[in-house]
């Protein structure tokens, strides 16, 4: 409580944004890893996960401090803010359309079944060390590609606010929590309220993006950092009203929409 009450509001929003974004992406990655582990064996799946996590951590260590030391802060804020705005608007748009029933919801069970069917039918390639190369490659790609979005969010949010360590810890905590939940519930990942989490992340990324772009071009924010939660609230209100209007104007929203197993961009 002491930490929460003394920390700037920007830090809390930062932790929440990174944690939620990481959790959403890691649920998708875990679905793939579980499918690989169950169908092809756990050893190669875990090896693929370990190598992917090491590669992602290396990206954060390599690019995070380099950005902070070699790029002027105003340029960093402008570019990073722009990236966050585009990225956040994409998440928010998709979450609004899904909440309004105009886009099929992400279905982890469908992705799981699809992966299991593909892996069951695949050939069992093994390396000299006894590693199942297919299982290794699928687990590695699943974790690495989903994790890249998290790395971009960690680096951009962490470097602009000079809290790279905090952002990395929030992402790490999300990975641990999702892994523990995944181990407990095994494959009932479809129960995770993914669209609500995606909506929350989109709101925070758009708010951070607006704030940092503003800082980069010398906007004077009333209340300084306190403008971030105000922006989150305002964009949240807009998103909620948009969903309500789309539901009211639509005829039978969501009718005939099959859940999607798409993984790219959630």
């Amino acid at each position: 409580m002491l930490i929460a009450s003394s920390a700037p509001s920007g830090a809390l929003v930062l932790v929440a944004a990174v944690f939620l974004a990481s959790a959403v992406e890691m649920v998708e990655a875990l679905t793939i890893v579980l499918a690989v582990g169950v169908t092809r064996g756990w050893r190669s799946a875990f090896e693929g996960v370990a190598v992917a996590l090491a590669a992602l951590a290396a990206l954060v260590v390599l690019f995070g401090p380099a950005l902070v030391h070699y790029v002027p802060l105003s340029v960093l804020r402008l570019v990073v803010g722009g990236l966050l705005l585009v990225f956040g608007l994409q998440w928010l748009r998709k979450a609004i359309l899904r909440a309004a029933g105009l886009k099929a919801k992400h279905d982890e069970d469908a992705i799981y079944a699809e992966q299991v069917a593909e892996l069951d039918g695949g050939t069992r390639g093994t390396s000299g060390s006894g590693r199942d190369t297919t299982a290794f490659a699928v687990a590695f790609k699943g974790v690495f590609l989903e994790g890249l979005e998290v790395v971009v969010i960690v680096i951009t949010l962490g470097t602009t606010s000079h809290r790279l360590g905090l952002a990395a810890m929030a992402a790490g905590a999300a990975v641990v929590v999702v892994c523990i939940v995944g181990l407990i519930v095994h494959r009932q990942l479809s129960g995770v309220p993914e669209n609500a989490m995606k909506m929350g992340v989109g709101l925070m990324l758009v708010s951070f993006g607006t704030f940092w772009v503003g800082e980069g071009v010398h906007v004077t924010w009333p209340g300084s950092d306190l403008a971030i939660p105000v922006l989150v609230a305002c964009y949240g209100l807009v998103a909620w009203l948009t969903v309500v209007v789309l539901r009211r104007t639509g005829e039978g929203p969501g009718a005939g929409l099959a859940p999607t197993g798409e993984a790219a961009h959630g």
Partner: protein, 88 residues
């Protein structure tokens, strides 16, 4: 995953560069080019406004409005397309 017609027969460096470019293209533009173009337009507009020091506080109120307009335009476009697809 579709076959990669670009990658076949090219040196590794070129294939990696193309893949890197594709990643960022999909990441930033993908199927919503209007969000990318709209965001760039908002940034340019706010940067121009902030050249006048007296307008920098006003820009704090204008910028979220412009961002909201970009979002609503993109959502409206997608909603129209989704309803048209559903009715067909």
């Amino acid at each position: 995953m579709a076959e990669d017609p670009i990658g076949s027969g090219r040196p590794t460096v070129i294939r990696w560069t193309v893949a890197f470019g594709r990643f960022w293209w999909d990441f930033l533009i993908g199927d919503t080019p209007e969000l990318f173009v709209g965001t760039v337009a908002v940034i340019v507009a706010v940067a121009v406004i902030c050249l006048q020091p007296g307008l920098r506080t006003a820009a704090a109120f204008l910028m979220p409005v412009l961002v909201t307009a970009v979002l609503l335009a993109s959502v409206g476009r997608a909603a129209r397309r989704a309803r048209r697809d559903q009715s067909q």
